[in-house]
């Protein structure tokens, strides 16, 4: 016991900045939770969910270097699991009015947390079935298979009327409105990912991204390691999907078009493939930016009636941004770096040095 206290003490001593930062963030969430209106609350919740899903996508795409495009499909499984198991039994007859719910499900109602975890587990099982053949191969097979899966699952959910209520979707899911659900989960997942990446498993992931042949020659089992990363990623995505369903209060297959996946591709490319902090920052920028740029979709933007301001223009902005990033700033916001205190210190020093240099040279020029 004494030993653990000691190690806690040394931990606090070396990481006090991080601990203080975390406490500030938690207090910030607490204050925001009391203060903000429902619109901002919705946006913040959405940002936190996007952070979870984008981070899990970055785990397999950015850190392990295996291109997976199944995010929308995995989210759908998580979302539908939460929807099916948390809708109050009494309301089910009115929701499933076209075809009654399958009898083996009709009377099961689970607490939200259990349904959420179950969604994660089911997503993981499905991911295992996809990964088992695909991850044995080299190349982009995973991308093709996950993309296909994402469409298949949507069509399956559209047609399994007695389970998912088909195209009508499931309404009246008990919603979460507090920021704590989404932010709490996001913080736990961020920390778990960070610890995972800085462990031997994280190094093994990165070694596969860097050079598969060398990784294998150094004893890293390619299939097993890729599978580990893929399953963890799927689990977190399932959780993210479950929260998404509970945030919106309704799920239907159209929400999970694969265009949803592109949001996350955009986020991780923008934030930096292989950077946790980059993903977090860019999740918030993209989610908030999509709302902030909504004026571009209105015909009377800037007081002019220009023909280009039509619904969808704000998405063009993001496409353009993505192109600029890919062409000129390939590493994204953070590259593979993390926003650690050392990193901030270095940046601060280099910026300071640049300014003092400039100041010195201009002063020299004046005199």
């Amino acid at each position: 016991m004494k030993n653990t206290q000691n190690s806690l003490g040394t931990y606090l001593k070396t990481h006090w900045k991080t601990v203080v930062f975390l406490i500030v963030v938690l207090i910030g969430i607490g204050i925001a939770d009391q203060m903000v209106n429902s619109f901002v609350r919705r946006l913040l919740n959405l940002s936190a969910i996007y952070t979870i899903v984008a981070l899990s996508m970055n785990l397999i795409n950015g850190f392990t270097g295996q291109f997976s495009l199944g995010q929308a499909g995995f989210m759908a499984i998580g979302a539908y699991t939460v929807a099916i198991f948390t809708v109050p039994v009494g309301l089910r007859a009115t929701i499933f009015y076209m075809a009654p719910m399958a009898p083996f499900l009709a009377n099961i109602q689970l607490p939200f947390v259990v349904a959420l975890l179950l969604g994660g587990v089911l997503t993981t099982i499905v991911a295992f079935l996809i990964g088992a053949p695909c991850l044995r191969l080299r190349g982009d097979y995973l991308a093709i298979a996950t993309l296909g899966f994402s469409e298949i699952i949507r069509i399956v959910f559209t047609n399994t009327q007695t389970i998912t209520n088909g195209a009508l979707g499931i309404k009246s899911i008990p919603t979460i409105s507090s920021l704590w659900w989404t932010f709490g989960t996001a913080i736990i997942i961020i920390i778990a990912c960070f610890l995972l990446i800085s462990s031997s498993y994280g190094r093994a992931f990165k070694s596969i991204r860097e050079d598969e042949i060398a990784a294998e020659a150094m004893g890293v089992g390619l299939f097993k390691t890729k599978m580990t990363s893929f399953l963890i990623s799927a689990f977190f995505t399932g959780i993210g999907g479950g929260l998404y369903a509970a945030l919106l209060g309704t799920v239907d297959p159209k929400q999970f078009y694969f265009t949803l996946t592109y949001n996350f591709v955009l986020i991780i490319v923008l934030g930096g493939m292989g950077s946790i902090s980059g993903t977090i920052i860019s999740s918030f920028i993209v989610t908030l930016g999509q709302e902030a740029l909504r004026f571009l979709d209105e015909p009377m933007a800037f007081g002019l009636d220009l023909p280009i301001f039509k619904p969808g223009l704000r998405m063009v902005v993001f496409s353009f941004l993505l192109m600029v990033v890919v062409l000129f700033y390939r590493k994204g916001l953070m590259g593979t770096n993390e926003l650690t205190w050392d990193f901030i210190g270095q940046k601060y020093q280099s910026i300071k040095a640049r300014f003092t240099k400039k100041a010195a040279s201009t002063q020299g020029g004046d005199k």
Binding site: A192, L195, K206, S207, E210, A215, M218
Partner: protein
């Protein structure tokens, strides 16, 4: 006692026979070299031994010594590279294959992944077992880096190291897998005479300090002749000769392979 034994190994790629009838018998504790003109199939032979390729026919047997000291012969032909590495064969690459975007220390630490005894869940929760494993791995790798003279560069990116040090790092990384047999693919390639001399000393020391059997491909004949116990000569995929350096230097077939063919001359 033989550590690595290949019998009649043939490696065919479509119509091309890269290795044709490879017969090696490497003894425990020796330093053996594989030489031969360009395109003789030396690297292919390494790739067959380390599992990158499955031989078309023939067998590869490896006899690792386990902790209790007993020796067990395993057929490794067609096994996965990571399984073979786990058995105790490590290698370096002819065209350096470091994890270029990662730090020097991380490069070496990746090679300890095969020995970890904690699960990813334990890593995600930073359980005491994971912390201990991480600390031990770090200590071991820092020791190896110290040994290879790279300890001051441990935080640098692997790709930022000069060429010679990248080769050293490859050796450090291979050693971190706890090998019994170390395969070096042209460790002195691109080094000047002085660096080659230093490398010769280093290889020799590593062999005794880590109780290794070393098998290397090398073109620097003075290095090969100086430190090898046995030399195998490969030409057009066949082992045309093997013996001590003296025997090889006077072998008619070897002289022909190196000097007698018009467009295949080495050096």
């Amino acid at each position: 006692m033989s550590v690595l034994k290949t019998e009649n190994v043939i490696m065919q790629f479509g119509g091309v026979v890269a290795v044709n009838d490879l017969n090696l018998d490497i003894q425990k504790g020796e330093l053996a070299a594989l030489i031969g003109p360009n395109g003789a199939g030396k690297t292919t032979a390494f790739n067959v031994i380390t599992g990158v390729y499955t031989p078309t026919s023939g067998t590869v047997h490896f006899s690792p010594t386990d902790k209790s000291g007993s020796v067990k012969e395993v057929d490794i032909s067609g096994k996965r590279p990571d399984k073979i590495t786990a058995l105790g064969i490590a290698r370096t690459f002819q065209n350096i294959r470091l994890f270029s975007d990662l730090s020097v220390l991380e490069n070496v630490m990746i090679a300890t992944h095969l020995n970890i005894d904690y699960s990813f869940l334990s890593a995600m929760l930073r359980m005491p077992k994971a912390r201990k494993g991480e600390r031990l791995a770090k200590e071991k790798c820092e020791f190896l880096l110290e040994r290879m003279g790279l300890i001051d560069l441990k935080a640098e990116k692997a790709s930022s190291l000069p060429y010679g040090q990248q080769r050293h790092l490859e050796i450090a990384r291979a050693l971190a897998t706890d090998p019994q047999l170390l395969l070096l693919d042209e460790p002195a390639a691109g080094m000047n005479p002085q660096e080659t001399d230093e490398l010769t000393d280093l290889i020799f020391k590593l062999k005794t300090d880590f109780d290794l059997t070393i098998f290397m491909i090398e073109h620097h004949m003075d290095l090969v002749m100086e430190i090898s116990d046995h030399i195998y000569v490969l030409d057009f995929g066949c082992t045309i000769a093997h013996g001590t350096p003296d025997e090889i230097q006077n072998d008619q077939k070897v002289i022909e392979a190196y000097l007698g063919v018009d467009d295949d001359v080495e050096n």
